[in-house]
Symmetry: C2
Subunit: 467 residues, 2 copies
Amino acid sequence: MNSYFLRSILCSALCLLGTMLISQDDSNQQDIDAKFIKDIHNQILTNGECYDWLTDFTTNVGARLAGSIGSEKAVVFMESKMKTIGFDSVWTQECKVNYWERGEKEEVYMTSPNTQRLNALSLGNMIGTDGKVLEAEIIEVKGLDEVEALGTEKVKGKIVFYNRPMDPTKIRTFNAYGGAVDQRVYGASAAAAYGAVAVLVRSMTTRQDDVPHTGTSIYKEGVKQIPAISISTNDANLLSKTLVQGKVSVSIKNNSKPMGEKTSHSVIGEIRGSEFPHEIILVGGHLDSWDVGAGAHDDGAGCVHSLQVIRTMLELGYKPKRTIRCVMFQNEENGLAGGREYARLSDEKGEFHLAALESDAGGFVPRGFSFDGHADVLKPFYKHVSQWLPLLESYGLQFSTGGSGADIGPLKSQKGLLIGLRPDSQRYFDYHHTDIDRIDAVNKRELELGAAAMTSLIYLIDKYGLE
Amino acid sequence: MNSYFLRSILCSALCLLGTMLISQDDSNQQDIDAKFIKDIHNQILTNGECYDWLTDFTTNVGARLAGSIGSEKAVVFMESKMKTIGFDSVWTQECKVNYWERGEKEEVYMTSPNTQRLNALSLGNMIGTDGKVLEAEIIEVKGLDEVEALGTEKVKGKIVFYNRPMDPTKIRTFNAYGGAVDQRVYGASAAAAYGAVAVLVRSMTTRQDDVPHTGTSIYKEGVKQIPAISISTNDANLLSKTLVQGKVSVSIKNNSKPMGEKTSHSVIGEIRGSEFPHEIILVGGHLDSWDVGAGAHDDGAGCVHSLQVIRTMLELGYKPKRTIRCVMFQNEENGLAGGREYARLSDEKGEFHLAALESDAGGFVPRGFSFDGHADVLKPFYKHVSQWLPLLESYGLQFSTGGSGADIGPLKSQKGLLIGLRPDSQRYFDYHHTDIDRIDAVNKRELELGAAAMTSLIYLIDKYGLE
């Protein structure tokens, strides 16, 4: 018996059992809930503002790496937006972020056997060449272990070129990303440990195009810091093909550098619960983006999704029993300072997050939610699934277990339910951390449906709790 | 008890029952099938050619209204493509199509109270103004019944402006299209019957933009033929807003005209079945498109999907038991001549189509399949669902009842199963029948996943039959 099959049996049995136990009273509630969830969708698909907000945000604020001028503009923009929406209270929360600057546009060339400029972006937190030209022979590897196997003799003085592609056969593209991103995050120090002078990393996307993708990269303590550059998949293919014929050299000139600590802020708003104000239901995304493009999908979408949840509840006259808190975390991309600080202060105040829902996988058609948390909360939650799933599946939504969101992860110790919105993932890595993650990559209806899915689930959790 | 809930009970019970009845033998088959369906997906996501074919087709053939030079180029292109793929036989099938020509670019203006050019496209089959300027006051209506209610007194001499939008709250956008498209198809004669001199029709899309959408329109016999023009939703909103202030006039100048009957062709290829060659499993789409854009989603996607199904079976060394026939129907957009002629000849030859699967809803992420057919075939088919669904649902695919495809509809009398691929519908009407339905509107992975879903289902039907 294969695993799909086993899952189907379990799911069917669970649903049937749940169904059999439902009383007439529950059934009336189901009708009320179905009607309200329809109202939520109608409201957002007819009068939703999230697309207009995102257009405004990405056009007038744009790129907003934590600590940059853009990130401070983003704080002001969203704080002011929250104040117009009707939250009971809105505030900002300070956090210390490590700021990094790209500097002037990278100049990266294949210099031998042919001369060709490569589409390149320095990786986040990495140093540059200090504006000087660094030129060396490249050596292609498929992963960190291969560098180790090659050793100092073959690596010293070279530019290591990480070229293991994201696996296109993974249906959920985040799994393909997870299987390749170690090259970007740890590749620089892994190569420097054997004397490499720089690294090139194939962009994290399954697309074949000219668009380089940046993203966070981390130096290991005690290892020499070297430049690390992402190149487009077309250019990675070109280098790899050229290497088949013989030696290839590349030159790099850039002046990226870490700029030390800066003060920044997350932005928070809440509506106090009427019955259980101490049970917090968090809905959020992250405010920061990388320094290229406009962070439309990553994670402008999550920010406007979260605003739309609150706006819609207010517009429909829904009075939450629990406190609904909208959090736009600072610095998810490059250190998670906002998420960590939020959880630290929340723990310090003795708060309890009954549930936290993060949208940080783009503004695409929602396919469902993934759930994570302590067994203490997951077990009672499963009881609700048989009643909630029929309400959501006609909107194409499913429930699954799995990761939730980086920013809300530090809240896990509060033993609430952690939830991730799962939009369709096929196009996410076309845009992720690139110059083309802009408003024209976002479809209005797809964005709106994500907000409607989130509002529907928050409504159910607020109404029924999780016991 | 609401309907979602009832459906959930039935579905759960069905799945559970199916599951309980499955023997060890069946379970081994499930493993084999799961493995083969994974192979299909891996093959297409790694080496699929459908996106390259579609790029070539839309770039080098482009628009291909049935009867046009483009449509004959399309026949040659696809016949030749089929011959390179390894079908047992490839042929074309003649049909008679009514050809229509747009003529020179339409000139449509709001002339009073302000002058503004409108983004407009004549509707298919409609006459033009013979190159003269037709100017008249417009009168806005929300539907055909409103024209009747207004009567000759208010309609005579006017241009009737149909402005009932597609309902954005329908989650499946095809339902919204179905609820609005009568204005486009029947609006001209409905207005002419009361003396209107022309009609304007709001474009069939939920988007607010400047892109006009064309499409088929039909004159009623015995009613005066008048020009019928689609305008963009932005322009429709502008006219409607301007009408609130007072009278509005519009001028139309175009020279569209029906050009009479032409001979055209559908393109067909098949692999003969090894065990049951007389049971035909059809997979197809339509070859023609409208005369604007390049018909990438509508229905280039369906054509390359269908080619990919056959290619992948051959690449994986799968020998079908039944005859798999790939059909690219001519003239779906404007008369269905290819589909009707195909069924007529098939009936004449005494053929039996066990199943027919059409892809004509775009190259977006597949969400499942809809099924239609006589009770004789649907009843035994449901028996298979409990075994097939677990194999497909990990790819995000669901089964539902509903329409299949216009071209395969005439095969219904053969009492086989009619199936429609159901891609996600959110973006379909952004591009439908427009100048922007081009290759850059298609995502490679989404297109490939559609082909993989179709190949998987065709494999299951071929292997197990439908008894």
